[in-house]
Symmetry: D2
Subunit: 155 residues, 4 copies
Amino acid sequence: MNEEITQEAATPSVELLPYYRQAKYYETDQMAVVHHSNYIRWFEEARVDYLEKIGLGYDTIEAAGIYSPVLEVHCQYKSAVRFNETVMIKAVLKSFNGIKMKIGYEVLDAATKQVRAIGETDHCFVTTDFRPASLKKNHKDFYDILIKCVGVEVE
Amino acid sequence: MNEEITQEAATPSVELLPYYRQAKYYETDQMAVVHHSNYIRWFEEARVDYLEKIGLGYDTIEAAGIYSPVLEVHCQYKSAVRFNETVMIKAVLKSFNGIKMKIGYEVLDAATKQVRAIGETDHCFVTTDFRPASLKKNHKDFYDILIKCVGVEVE
Amino acid sequence: MNEEITQEAATPSVELLPYYRQAKYYETDQMAVVHHSNYIRWFEEARVDYLEKIGLGYDTIEAAGIYSPVLEVHCQYKSAVRFNETVMIKAVLKSFNGIKMKIGYEVLDAATKQVRAIGETDHCFVTTDFRPASLKKNHKDFYDILIKCVGVEVE
Amino acid sequence: MNEEITQEAATPSVELLPYYRQAKYYETDQMAVVHHSNYIRWFEEARVDYLEKIGLGYDTIEAAGIYSPVLEVHCQYKSAVRFNETVMIKAVLKSFNGIKMKIGYEVLDAATKQVRAIGETDHCFVTTDFRPASLKKNHKDFYDILIKCVGVEVE
């Protein structure tokens, strides 16, 4: 890591608000709670929102001919979400090494702040024909944003 | 309509078996029945299966640069489907006029033959950039199959 | 219909704002537009929102031991919605006769106001063991709200 | 663990066939591959199928007043699945200690046997009001099947 990257420089200039989401009726299952597969979709919603807030909207990325497919997903379910309850999801870029990024998620009940789930997704960057894309070489602006937001380039 | 198309010629040569589908857990909602939106997806599954059986697999169509988007969907729910129950879905090409086609669906409990739902979808044909596609002019083989299967070209 | 119900009384006292919804990535399909089945889910979201605004939140209804299953759904697709676009959905109670209600939907692009889809759903009211429920007899408060909002009891 | 449980006794008497599943159109996204969230649903389908084959159908379990919620899910995506491709999913009970069970999944292309994804889910057992359920005490038949299938009680 470059020693000159200061705490200040590594901090995103925009304050990142969590993503709010109300549980839909069609997301429930016959246990009368939100089906566990939907959290993976909520992670995506929160990720899209987060990336847009730091200047990397999915449509911006895809307009540049870049996909960021999910390589791995992990979710721990702590307590159930019921229909109509609102959760707040805190997404954060946990690491980025130029080739892969890891995003973390914390799903909390918006009212009680009780933890509903925590998780992570790992991503790479590919061109629209699924070949590896080098952000550092071909999309330096994207690269710089990610480096800045994670504050450190993982070696 | 060409008068020489006889009843016999209009009958598809393959016997069309219904499409069978078991209700998944994640398709239930907190009423403990399959959520009504999933029937629209089941219609699609049965349609894909039906079209493939008559020689018009969706991948074949899309390989030819043709999409067949849904213009309209209609579903009447007669009785609930529960987790793990198997339904049989009878799809049929109800009409085709060269520009649009209408497909009908009957969803029955596979064991009891009780009607679960009936419905219809309307479709047109477009190129991959969403411009109208003329099957008669550019995809005569697709056109002929559809005309043969419905038995009559609606004017 | 009681003649004393005036135009004024029949008008809901709250101004009903449309329901806004951003298209999610996971709602797209390989035509790069929102899959048609999701509109049926958006109708539900807009319906839940609408009913809550008039005082009949789904959770309120279900707390009273009442389900309002969908009997019929109809949707006409006018133009495609793409990822990240925001739609506004105007829901309205089109009819209520004490036994069934019909809700209409208009899905517009929030920015351009172009019509994306229009549709309707029909509903009945049942107890949690799926027996017919009489709102007029057992849930007069629900009944009154619905009558007031539609302005007229369809015979 | 009881030392008398032999390798033979620990082997399920039925040969467990993998679960086959064809990718649906509505499961694709605008990258023209199956959306990653659907694998979590496929895991569930394969799990339901596996548990049924060993004598523990979800409906059997739920009929006994037992839910088996997902505590944790993990999936690594190796290569994309496209519309209409068939995958075979091998599910296996990796561990069971009387309180929790871990099920592993391998998703392979049915034709080429190329690995599409691997994953795991962790589950506990609760009563329908979400209190911990002791299979050993109250559902010895379920307990015995799981112990037999995993071959060893993890301490």
